[in-house]
C-alpha cells in the first residue's frame, strides 16, 4: 500500500510518516506544491494525504490534478483551516475525507484505512482478526461467524481498536473518534469506559478473547499476537 503525504511542516511530516510506516504502508512525502504535483502525476498511490495550505500552491489544485488524471487514490485533506468552506470545496472536488489539525495519528490511521478499503474493494471487504470478522459496509461484527449485536458506539469503538491494533490508543483519541468535536465538552472518559465494558461483555458472551489491554493512565491497546 502506497501513500503520498503532502505536508509542509517537517516535524509533522516525520511523525505521520513514522506512524503510517509502522502500520506497514509505504509512505512518500512532498513538502511543497511543485514536489507534490510531480509525485502525484508520476506515481500511483492508494491514498493521498494533502494539506491545503502549501508553499507555492494550494492542496486543492493537487486534488484537481489527481481527479483530472483519473487517479484511483483515496484523498484525505489534512488542514489547519477548520473551515466548512474549505471542507465543502475539497469534498466537492472529490476528496474522500477531511481531517482538521490537530488530529490524532490513530484517527488519521483509521481514516486512511477506511478510505483505502472503500477504494480498493468497492466496500466488499471484511476485516478479520482471529475470531472476529467485521463487515464494514454493513456494520456487522461476527465472532466465530456468530453475529454480535452492538450499538453504534460499541461498533465504532471496536473498529477503531482493530484498525489501530497493537497500538496504544489514548482515551482522548477514542473520545474524539466517537464524539467528534463534542468530546471537548464532556467528561468523555467515563463514557468510553461504559461503552468498553459493554463491548467486552458482548464479545465475551460469544466466546471472544479479551484483546483490550488497559494501559495505565493513557488508554488502551488492542493486542493481537502476530
Amino acid at each position: 500500500m502506497k501513500i503520498l503525504l503532502i505536508e509542509d511542516e517537517p516535524e509533522l511530516r516525520k511523525s505521520i510518516k513514522q506512524y503510517l510506516h509502522q502500520e506497514g504502508y509505504l509512505v512518500e512525502s512532498a513538502a511543497d506544491f511543485i514536489k507534490a504535483s510531480e509525485k502525484a502525476s508520476d506515481y500511483d498511490y492508494d491514498c493521498v494525504l494533502v494539506d491545503i495550505t502549501l508553499p507555492k500552491g494550494s492542496g486543492l489544485d493537487i486534488i484537481k490534478q489527481l481527479k483530472q488524471n483519473h487517479s484511483k487514490a483515496g484523498i484525505i485533506i489534512i488542514s489547519a483551516r477548520n473551515s466548512s468552506g474549505d471542507k465543502i470545496t475539497g469534498l466537492d472536488l472529490g476528496a474522500d475525507d477531511y481531517l482538521s489539525k490537530p488530529f490524532d495519528l490513530a484517527e488519521l490511521n483509521s481514516r486512511v484505512k477506511a478510505v483505502i478499503r472503500r477504494r480498493n474493494f468497492d466496500g466488499n471487504t471484511s476485516i478479520v482478526v482471529n475470531e472476529i470478522t467485521i463487515l464494514p459496509e454493513q456494520r456487522i461484527v461476527k465472532v466465530n461467524d456468530d453475529p454480535v449485536n452492538l450499538t453504534a458506539k460499541e461498533y465504532d469503538l471496536l473498529l477503531f481498536f482493530i484498525t489501530n491494533k497493537n497500538r496504544v490508543v489514548s482515551k482522548n483519541a477514542i473520545a474524539e473518534h466517537l464524539w467528534g468535536d463534542d468530546s471537548d465538552q464532556m467528561d468523555s472518559h467515563d463514557f468510553i469506559y461504559v461503552h468498553l465494558r459493554n463491548l467486552r461483555k458482548k464479545l465475551a458472551e460469544k466466546g471472544c478473547n479479551d484483546y483490550v489491554q488497559t494501559i495505565y493512565g493513557i488508554g488502551y491497546n488492542f493486542k493481537v499476537n502476530g
Binding site: E9, L12, N82, K101, D104, D187, V194, Y216
Partner: protein, 417 residues
C-alpha cells in the same frame, strides 16, 4: 442648540449694540447739523434786527414776534452773545416746547441794545423719535432676515453636511463594506468628507487586519499543536514506559486537548463575531432540538437525566444551520454538564420563546458574568468557559435575547426570537 441658531444669536448679539451705536451717532450728527442750521437762522434774524436798529432814529424797544419771544430791548450796558436752550410751556398745545435763543448785545449811536431771537427746535425731538423708530424697524427686519437666510442656508448650504451625518449614523464597521462619502461643492464639507473617507478606510483595513490576525493566529497554532499531538502518540507507543511516565503523558495529552479545544472555540467566536456564517436556511426549531437531544442521548442516559419537552408552537427561524447546531449543542451541553445525577432538563417552546431549564446547584459566579468569556463556575474545572459566550454571540448576531434565571433549584435559559 443648533449651530444655525447659535450663529443667529451671535449675529444679533454683535449687531444690536452696533445698531444702537449707529443710532446714537447718527442722532448726534444730525442734531449738530440741525443746531448749526438753527444757529444760522438765528444769526440771520439777528442781522435783520441789527438792520432794524440801524433804521432807528431814537432808541426804543421792539417786539420782533407776536409772542414777544424775539425782541430788541434797550439796555444800560453789555457785550457778547450767547446761545441758550429753554423749554417754554405752550398753552395751546399744552406741552413744553423746546426753544433756542440767541441773546446778543449790540451798540449803535451810543445806545445799547439786547437782541433776543428765538426758534423752536421741535423738529429735533421728532428727529430723535424718527431715528429710534427707523432703527427699531431695521433691527426687527434684520432678525427676520437672519432667520430666513439661515433657514435657507441650512436647507441648501448645510445639506451635504446633513447627508454625511446621516451616512455616518448608519455606518456599521461589521458590515464589511467600505463606505465612501461623496465630494461636496463646499470646500469645508469636502475636506470633512475626504477626512472621513480616510478615517473609515483606515478603520476598515485595521478591522480586516485584526480579524485576519485572530484567525491566522488560531490557524497558525493548529500546526504546532498537531506536531505535539502526533509526537505524543508516537511516544505512547514506546514499549518501556513506566507508570509515572504514562501518567505524565496523559497529563500532557489532556492539556493539549484542552488547548486545542480552546483554540477552536476562540476561532469559532471570532468567526461568529466577524459575521462569517452567511448561510441562511429555514430551521424548524423543534426538529433541531429533537436532533440535538438525540446526539446527547448517551450523556443524558449516563447521568440518568429525565428530559421533558413541551412544544406549544413550531417556530421557524432563518439562520445558518451550523450556528443553530452550535447554539443548541452548547446550551444542552451546559444543561447536561451542570446537572446532577438523576436530574432533569425541561425544554419548552411557547410563541417565540425557547426555555431550557436544568436542575443543579446554584451558581458560584455572578449571574451577570455568566456570558463573559472565561468566567466559569468553580465546580467545572474541565469547562473552557467559552460555551455560553459562544451562545451569547450567536444570539446577538441574530438580534435575539437571552436571559438566565435560577429558581426552585432550576437553571433556566430563555431565548426570545
Amino acid at each position: 442648540m443648533k449651530l444655525i441658531n447659535k450663529t443667529i444669536i451671535y449675529y444679533l448679539l454683535i449687531s444690536l449694540p452696533l445698531l444702537i451705536m449707529a443710532g446714537f451717532c447718527s442722532y448726534f450728527l444730525i442734531r449738530i447739523e440741525l443746531r448749526d442750521g438753527a444757529d444760522e437762522a438765528l444769526e440771520k434774524e439777528k442781522a435783520n434786527a441789527i438792520q432794524l436798529i440801524h433804521s432807528f432814529t431814537e432808541a426804543r424797544n421792539v417786539n420782533l414776534s407776536f409772542d414777544s419771544l424775539s425782541t430788541i430791548r434797550v439796555v444800560a450796558m453789555g457785550t457778547g452773545e450767547v446761545f441758550t436752550d429753554t423749554s417754554i410751556y405752550d398753552r395751546e398745545e399744552k406741552e413744553y416746547v423746546p426753544y433756542r435763543f440767541l441773546k446778543s448785545h449790540y451798540s449803535y449811536n451810543n445806545n445799547y441794545y439786547l437782541i433776543t431771537v428765538s426758534k423752536t427746535t421741535i423738529e429735533e425731538d421728532e428727529l430723535l423719535e424718527g431715528i429710534f423708530f427707523s432703527f427699531g424697524i431695521i433691527i426687527g427686519l434684520l432678525v427676520i432676515a437672519f432667520f430666513i437666510v439661515n433657514w435657507l442656508l441650512s436647507k441648501t448650504l448645510w445639506k451635504p453636511f446633513h447627508k454625511t451625518l446621516s451616512e455616518l449614523n448608519t455606518y456599521d464597521i461589521k458590515k464589511h463594506e467600505l463606505h465612501t462619502f461623496e465630494s461636496a461643492t463646499t470646500r469645508e464639507f469636502n475636506q470633512l468628507n475626504s477626512a472621513l473617507n480616510k478615517m473609515t478606510e483606515k478603520i476598515h483595513s485595521d478591522f480586516l487586519q485584526q480579524k485576519e490576525f485572530t484567525e491566522n493566529a488560531s490557524h497558525e497554532m493548529q500546526t504546532p499543536l498537531a506536531i505535539v499531538k502526533a509526537n505524543l502518540s508516537l511516544l505512547m507507543q514506546s514499549p518501556n514506559l513506566k507508570e509515572e511516565e504514562m501518567n505524565q503523558l496523559q497529563i500532557m495529552e489532556n492539556t493539549l486537548k484542552k488547548l486545542s479545544a480552546l483554540n477552536k472555540s476562540l476561532l469559532l467566536l471570532t468567526k461568529i463575531e466577524n459575521n462569517q456564517f452567511h448561510e441562511q436556511a429555514n430551521i424548524h426549531l423543534n426538529e433541531a432540538i429533537t436532533k440535538t437531544l438525540s446526539n446527547y442521548a448517551d450523556l443524558i442516559q449516563a447521568k440518568n437525566i429525565q428530559i421533558e419537552t413541551n412544544f406549544e408552537s413550531k417556530p421557524v427561524l432563518e439562520m445558518d444551520p451550523a450556528l443553530v447546531d452550535i447554539l443548541l449543542s452548547n446550551l444542552f451541553q451546559n444543561a447536561i454538564r451542570h446537572n446532577k445525577e438523576g436530574g432533569k432538563i425541561t425544554v419548552s417552546i411557547k410563541d417565540k420563546q425557547l426555555c431550557i431549564a436544568n436542575s443543579g446547584e446554584p451558581l458560584t459566579v455572578n449571574k451577570e458574568d455568566l456570558f463573559v468569556r472565561f468566567k466559569k463556575d468553580d465546580a467545572s474545572k474541565d469547562s473552557l468557559g467559552l460555551g455560553l459566550s459562544i451562545v451569547k454571540s450567536i444570539v446577538d448576531l441574530y438580534g435575539f435575547e437571552i436571559h438566565y434565571d435560577y429558581s426552585n433549584s432550576l437553571h433556566t435559559f430563555t431565548i426570545k426570537f
